[in-house]
């Protein structure tokens, strides 16, 4: 396997960053849901 292919195969950072976006979305939604449940 060439060095270039090794480089292109490594998308660990992309994976973690994409997951982080998911976590942010869930956290914002859950926080607002908690406020919603508290009020309504």
């Amino acid at each position: 396997m060439s060095k270039k292919q090794d480089t292109n195969d490594n998308l660990k950072g992309t994976f973690y960053l994409s997951m982080t976006i998911g976590v942010i979305i869930v956290a914002v939604w859950a926080s607002c849901f908690a406020i919603f449940m508290d009020r309504f």
Partner: protein, 560 residues
């Protein structure tokens, strides 16, 4: 793995690198109008936050809602539409090919129709005959010239879009069985979505608001007008966003020296945005009586579908950045981030825009969640939300693009000094918007309303808890206005003062590892059929129901 023929043909690319001077003139004409709107609309925004801080009163009897209308119309409708068509004209000319004389003539006709419409609407707002905010909800009734002006802006944009579509179709005819240039494809997607979306608002203006404001009819069906408006209003958000996505997908990779991660993924994302941007307007009307809950629920589900192309985009962009960062020697899970060109404003500004879009999008999911919408509906949270999405993610991307686009069009260069000022301008904008938008979000959760001048409500206890956030909004808004002045200074320098030379119009190549783009992604007949079907499914019955159970309607009101 094969690539797109247009993307790999370097000699062909080199011929397209420099925009034709006649197309550059057309593009620049749009940018001049856009940035005049930025100055005036930004000034109106500054006045608003100062008024809401409680320590400033508008002089000479100027009405707060007049200023709010100036801000919303000039920034939400005029700045964006003119910048987008200016950028798209240049993108089409460079990526697809120089416009023919007839196509350019159409472009100019579109520009002048939009400009005349803008002037008509602006005069009425300045005369205080149309303080109806940018959503121009009935039964607030503006002067008919305001509505006619906005209708001309829409018609002008259709003409400009037709000019761009004709150029793309000509390329396709000249290059049978080849995948069209990505940037051209994206422009066509955006214009298609815009055309379908604006049919609703054009119907509202032509058949409801104009006859009503002219006195031909006494009353207007409020619910129908709002439903037609929002069939356009949410797609408007994507009309702002998609050009930013064009820059993120097709331009930024070239700026950082990388490649587009996947041409097919980019096209798939755009097709999904086109399909799921229009049949979703009812999620702006979740508290609206008169529309059955099941139709609102259907449109909420369709709204949530845009999460898919949004996350595809995030993945694709991160992958582009990581591959480039590692190519430059970056190691570890995140250390490659350090290798990206943080000192280049052409990258820095749109990147900050991308980052801000993450909380902006997360907030949007809260807005569109059927029940939770009650938490934030008509609060200043919503204002904070779209100041993160359009006013930060989109605008920072447009600012970043301006820094290379304008010198490319004027035959000048982005100097180190201007680049540095651009970085400062970006930081000021992000800081100002961060302070203002976070304050808006928090105050909104505490119940502070939007579209309200000072909101002290006669000294009510709850209103006192919002005051510190309103002062913070004034601080943020002041920083933003300083950033606008700095941006305009850079714009003027790039137009007339920086050294002459050649500034690249950066269009990225596709990665060698990307798979071939499936032909179906360019089958617009199929996508148009699906789009029209989705719109019909989402809207036919609700509109039939609204019309068949229509109340008497409302007379017009001028509450300002």
């Amino acid at each position: 793995m094969s690539e797109q023929p247009i993307e790999v043909n370097e000699s062909f690319r080199s011929k397209l690198k420099k925009i034709d001077a006649r197309d550059a003139k057309l593009s620049m004409a749009h940018l001049y109008v856009a940035f005049i709107a930025l100055f005036l609309g930004g000034l109106a925004g500054l006045l608003q936050v100062l008024v809401r801080s409680g320590s400033f009163e508008l002089p000479w009897g100027i009405n707060y809602y007049q200023v709010l209308t100036v801000h919303g119309v000039l920034l939400g409708l005029i700045l964006t539409t003119f910048f987008i068509f200016g950028f798209q004209t240049a993108a089409m000319s460079v990526a697809v090919g120089t416009l023919s004389s007839n196509q350019r003539r159409l472009g100019w006709i579109g520009f002048w129709v939009m400009t005349i419409g803008t002037a008509m609407a602006a005069v009425m707002v300045l005369l205080n005959e149309a303080s109806v905010l940018y959503t121009f909800y009935a039964p607030l009734q503006a002067h008919w010239i305001f509505y006619a002006g906005l209708a001309l802006v829409v018609v002008g944009s259709w003409i400009a879009a037709l000019s761009e579509a004709l150029r793309w179709m000509k390329w396709r005819k000249d290059h049978p069985k080849q995948t069209t240039p990505l940037l051209g494809f994206m422009v066509v997607c955006n214009n298609l979505m815009w055309f379908i979306a604006t049919i609703g608002v054009a119907t509202e203006v032509l058949f409801q608001l104009l006859p009503w404001s002219l006195g031909f009819v006494d009353r207007v069906d409020i619910l129908l007008s709002r439903t037609l408006f929002w069939s356009f209003g949410h797609a408007l958000v994507y009309f702002w966003l998609l050009p930013a996505y064009m820059i993120w997908y097709a331009i930024v990779p070239q700026i950082i020296g990388g490649r587009i991660f996947s041409d097919a993924l980019a096209r798939l994302s755009f097709i999904m945005f086109v399909l799921f941007s229009v049949p979703v307007g009812l999620h702006h009307q979740l508290t609206e009586p008169g529309v059955d809950g099941s139709w609102k629920f259907l449109q909420v589900v369709l709204t949530m579908m845009v999460v898919i192309p949004s996350l595809l985009t995030a993945f694709s962009l991160f992958a582009t950045f990581e591959l480039r960062g590692r190519e430059l020697g970056g190691k570890g899970i995140f250390a490659w981030l350090k290798k990206l060109p943080w000192h280049d404003v052409r990258f820095f500004a749109p990147f900050i825009g991308m980052l801000v879009f993450i909380p902006g999008g997360a907030g949007g999911i809260v807005n569109a969640s059927y029940q939770m919408n009650q938490l934030i509906h008509n609060t200043i949270w919503v204002t904070g939300h779209f100041h993160l999405t359009v006013a930060t993610a989109v605008m920072l991307t447009f600012f970043g693009a301006t820094y290379w686009l304008v010198p490319h069009l004027t035959g000048r260069t982005l100097t180190k000094e201007m680049n540095k000022l651009g970085i400062i301008q970006t930081i000021l904008w992000a800081l100002g918007m961060g302070i203002m938008s976070i304050s808006m979000h928090v105050a909104g959760l505490m119940g502070a309303p939007r579209r309200s001048s000072f909101s002290d409500y006669g000294g009510a206890e709850i209103a006192k808890t919002w005051l510190s956030y309103q002062i913070a909004q004034a601080v943020g808004g002041t920083l933003l206005f300083i950033a606008i002045i700095l941006f305009l200074y850079i714009f003027i320098k790039l137009c007339w003062a920086t050294p002459k030379g050649h500034e690249e119009f950066p269009i990225a190549l596709v990665s060698d590892h990307a798979q071939e783009t499936p032909a179906i992604l360019e089958n617009f007949k199929l996508w148009i059929v699906i789009l029209v079907a989705l719109v019909l499914i989402a809207y036919t019955y609700p509109i039939y129901d609204i019309i068949s159970n229509a109340p008497l309607g409302s007379k017009g009101y001028k509450l300002w």
